[in-house]
């Protein structure tokens, strides 16, 4: 700490250069912060949600419905605690551009087994009791300015009403929040009553899109999945049971190629930016060789010189890095607002840690060569400019 002033003066020596370098580093880390938020949003559901839940869907493809009769037979499987069911509705609000997931669910059991959906008890009761009731995520409600008590007309893209129209009138009875910030993507969804859906749709009565099975013991998930699949093997409606995590992962994998390429490209970008900054950093220290020689003449030890140069480079990277992360943190809400809530990404604590650690690491990598050079400096040569 005694030498902090010295390090600081080193950075202040060429203020324009330091400022520009800081800004370059900040740009790189702002990029990193945004990308990591995307990455976390992509992977969070897999890490956080549903290790004790199974998704049971048709073995042949996700668009094949399963008969309602599977419910009773699955309930008899030992280790199954509760079963909810759901169907993709695929509705749009006013305009096809207003896309968000709309899903018909069995209200009570669905809320029972999804404790990450936070909703007031009164609204929960209303959702269970209202035939045309619907609950929406807070982010979605904000996006369209919905309040409890509103009527929401949904246009069906898949399921026309029995009366032949494609409009479904829903009553908004509750607004829910996600328990963890990483799951905020959930708040873009709309759930409504399966009973109403099944009764009023034109075709497909008596089937569900998928079942969600909550098990007593997460360790037993694989065994129970196998038991369920075996129940319906060789029937005309074979099932595929997988943990919710695997189910979501399979979707992420299908978007796969694009996600992978985008991440790879951006990773390369980040690295290039940091390396370039490192070059500037190295240049700055090369310029100061005579100064370092003076320090040595004054009796600074090799090791002290090494640590001073390293500390300077790490300080620069951390300052720039944290600045970039803060910029990213500040711009995420702006991006969310500009995209109409479609890219509502939170910045996870791990991003801050990872970013800072990266900054420190890069600071060492970038600072080490000039630091070593400064350490090995021969005073006489350096002073005479050789």
């Amino acid at each position: 700490m005694k030498y902090l002033h010295l390090i600081w003066m080193g950075l202040r020596r060429k203020r324009t250069r330091t400022l520009l370098t800081l800004l370059s580093v900040a740009a790189a880390f702002a990029l990193f912060g945004l990308l990591d938020a995307v990455r976390v949003a992509f992977t969070a559901p897999q890490n956080l949600a549903g290790i004790d839940r199974l998704i049971v869907s048709s073995r042949f493809s996700i668009i094949q419905p399963l008969p309602f009769a599977h419910l009773a037979r699955m309930q008899a499987v030992p280790g199954v605690r509760e079963i909810a069911y759901a169907n993709w509705f695929g509705g749009v609000y006013q305009d096809p551009k207003n896309f968000f997931p709309t899903i018909a669910v069995s209200p009570q059991s669905f809320l029972d087994i999804h404790p990450e959906i936070l909703i007031e008890p009164g609204q929960r009761q209303a959702f269970i009791a209202t035939r045309t009731g619907t609950i929406v995520g807070a982010a979605l409600a904000e996006r369209f300015g919905w309040k409890v008590g509103d009527k929401i007309p949904l246009q069906a893209t898949i399921f026309p009403n029995k009366d032949g129209s494609i409009l479904w009138a829903l009553d908004l009875v509750g607004i829910f929040r996600a328990a963890q910030p990483e799951l905020r993507g959930m708040e873009q969804q709309l759930f409504f009553n399966f009973a109403y859906f099944d009764e009023a749709r034109e075709f497909g009565q008596g089937t569900v899109g998928w079942y969600i099975v909550k098990v007593d013991d997460p360790a037993q998930v694989d065994r129970i999945a196998l038991a369920i699949d075996r129940l319906f093997a060789n029937s005309s409606d074979e099932t595929k049971s997988q943990s919710e995590r695997d189910f979501q992962l399979s979707f992420a994998k299908q978007i796969g190629d694009i996600g992978l390429i985008v991440t790879a490209i951006m990773g390369a970008v980040f690295f290039a930016l940091v390396l370039l900054t490192g070059n500037t950093m190295a240049q700055a220290i090369r310029d100061r060789i005579p100064e370092l020689a003076v320090l040595k003449t004054l009796g600074f030890t090799h090791r002290l010189i090494l640590s001073i140069v390293l500390a300077e480079s790490m300080l620069l990277l951390v300052l720039g890095g944290v600045g970039g992360l803060v910029t990213a943190r500040l711009s995420l809400p702006v991006i969310s607002a500009a995209s109409g809530g479609q890219f509502d990404l939170p910045m996870a604590p791990q991003t801050w840690w990872l970013g800072t650690a990266l900054a420190l690491l890069i600071g060492v990598v970038v600072g080490l060569p000039p630091a070593l050079r400064a350490m090995r400096l021969s005073i006489v040569d350096a002073l005479s400019g050789r």
């Binding site: 324009t16 250069r17 370098t21 740009a27 026309p160 399979s250 299908q254 490209i265 290039a272 370039l276």
Partner: protein
């Protein structure tokens, strides 16, 4: 007062520079049209020749400061590479889907359905649609229409071995007339009534176990692959079989869409009028071009916004790097520049020379970045989840337009990066710089 004048000067220069960059990014042709003036000025005017001389002496020192110049070249190269790569992905996806459609064919879906997978038509509807006016007919006066069933099958990807969704399209016997661009590459067409499939070349590349001769299971029934086809569009990602047989296998009693060939330019209007006027039908009709454009819109827009956003952030970082480098280059040559100015060189040649240097380096970086993007990604095949909940196979397309756009960015960034250092060079106090060691 002097300070105020300097402030006005600075503000004026900043505004002019901003205007130049905006003009360059939005209407490059305008500036390109004026560009012959620059070489003429450089070659034939006194100040121009001076600028050339200063720039040449600056560039001759580039080999001695590779570290610094690589900051500009690599930094701007990176920006251009990322921009071009991401935009080429969007371009490829859009091209694949927009080539799938044409103005000569139309698709009929249930009213309100936004994709085939969410649509449904009854048998009677299909007959009505096919017989409607506006539908082209073949030599035997049968309508050129193909009622189609779209189902989704799970087939493992070659790359990861995990299951992904593939469209299995049941097509009517008229399909070869409706989509004449489809040709068989190997094997033969499927036989109607048999459980046979032909597989698109894109699907064949991305998925395993669907080579001709192979058997796959669809809804617990065994199907044989008898051939491969090429269509040059989104259908390349699909497996085709007989519509009736596919519908039976999936216990469907109807179709999802009807694709038909329109009868002349007025065909669509006549067809739309007839379908809208028929109270028995609740359907939407649009040309396949409109339909597939809608399907590609969202993803391409997202990639474009993403690509440009990333490029802008990178560009900010790269410009700061470039400014740093050019400042360093000028600091190293301060004495030389001061000497020139003492000899009577005015400020303009010095400014132009520094700008020339930074823009040349940026251009080199841009060319490098574009070349990398082209070498790595042009024709690179990927697949992703598309409109029907299923995989769409497409290729990156690094088009000449994108390469030019990359160069446009590179030059713009080189200009911004060089401007401040150039002004500094022109203002170096001569006496102080000459004394400096």
């Amino acid at each position: 007062m002097r300070a105020f004048i300097r402030f006005l000067q600075g503000a004026g220069i900043t505004l002019a520079a901003l205007a130049a960059v905006v003009l360059w990014m939005s209407a490059p042709l305008l500036l390109l049209a004026a560009s012959p003036a620059l070489p003429a000025w450089l070659l034939f005017s006194r100040a121009g020749r001076q600028a050339l001389a200063v720039a040449a002496s600056g560039l001759s020192t580039v080999p001695q400061r590779l570290g610094g110049t690589s900051v500009i070249v690599v930094g701007i190269g990176g920006v251009v590479a990322v921009l071009v790569a991401l935009l080429s992905m969007a371009a490829g996806f859009e091209a694949t889907l927009s080539e799938s459609g044409s103005d000569a064919t139309a698709i009929v879906l249930r009213a309100g359905a936004d994709a085939e997978v969410s649509s449904g038509l009854e048998r009677a509807d299909v007959t009505l649609v096919a017989q409607a006016p506006g539908v082209a007919r073949d030599a035997r006066n049968a309508p050129l229409a193909s009622p189609e069933v779209v189902v989704i099958a799970n087939i493992p990807l070659r790359s990861s071995g995990t299951d992904a969704n593939v469209v299995v399209r049941g097509v009517g016997p008229g399909v070869w007339g409706v989509r004449p661009e489809v040709r068989m590459l190997a094997g033969r067409r499927f036989e109607p009534g048999l459980r046979e499939l032909v597989v698109g070349q894109g699907a064949l590349r991305q998925f395993s176990g669907i080579e001709p001769g192979a058997e796959i299971r669809l809804n617990n029934q065994s199907w044989r692959i008898v051939g491969t086809f090429a269509s040059g569009d989104a259908h390349d990602s699909e497996l085709w079989g007989d519509a009736e047989t596919v519908a039976t296998a999936y216990r469907r009693n109807g179709f999802q869409s009807v694709t038909l060939r329109l009868d002349g330019a007025q065909g669509l209007e006549r067809l739309r009028a007839a379908l809208d006027g028929d109270p028995r039908l609740k359907v939407d009709v649009e040309t396949t071009r409109e339909y597939y454009n809608k399907q590609s819109e969202q993803l391409t827009r997202m990639i474009r916004v993403l690509g440009t956003g990333v490029a802008v952030i990178m560009a900010i970082g790269a410009v700061f790097g470039a400014i740093n480098t050019m400042y360093a280059a000028i600091a190293a040559r301060a004495r030389e520049i001061a000497t020139l100015r003492a000899l009577g060189f005015t400020g303009v040649p010095v400014v132009v020379a520094v700008l020339l240097e930074s823009m040349l380096l940026a251009l080199a970086g841009g060319a490098l970045g574009a070349a990398i993007a082209y070498a790595l990604f042009h024709g690179y095949t990927v697949s992703t989840l598309g409109g029907n909940f299923s995989q769409v196979v497409f290729q990156f397309q690094v088009t000449p337009a994108l390469l030019l756009q990359g160069m446009q960015w590179a030059l713009g960034l080189g200009f911004i990066g060089g401007l401040l250092p150039a002004l500094r060079a022109a203002r170096i106090p001569i006496t102080a710089a000459l004394r400096e060691s």
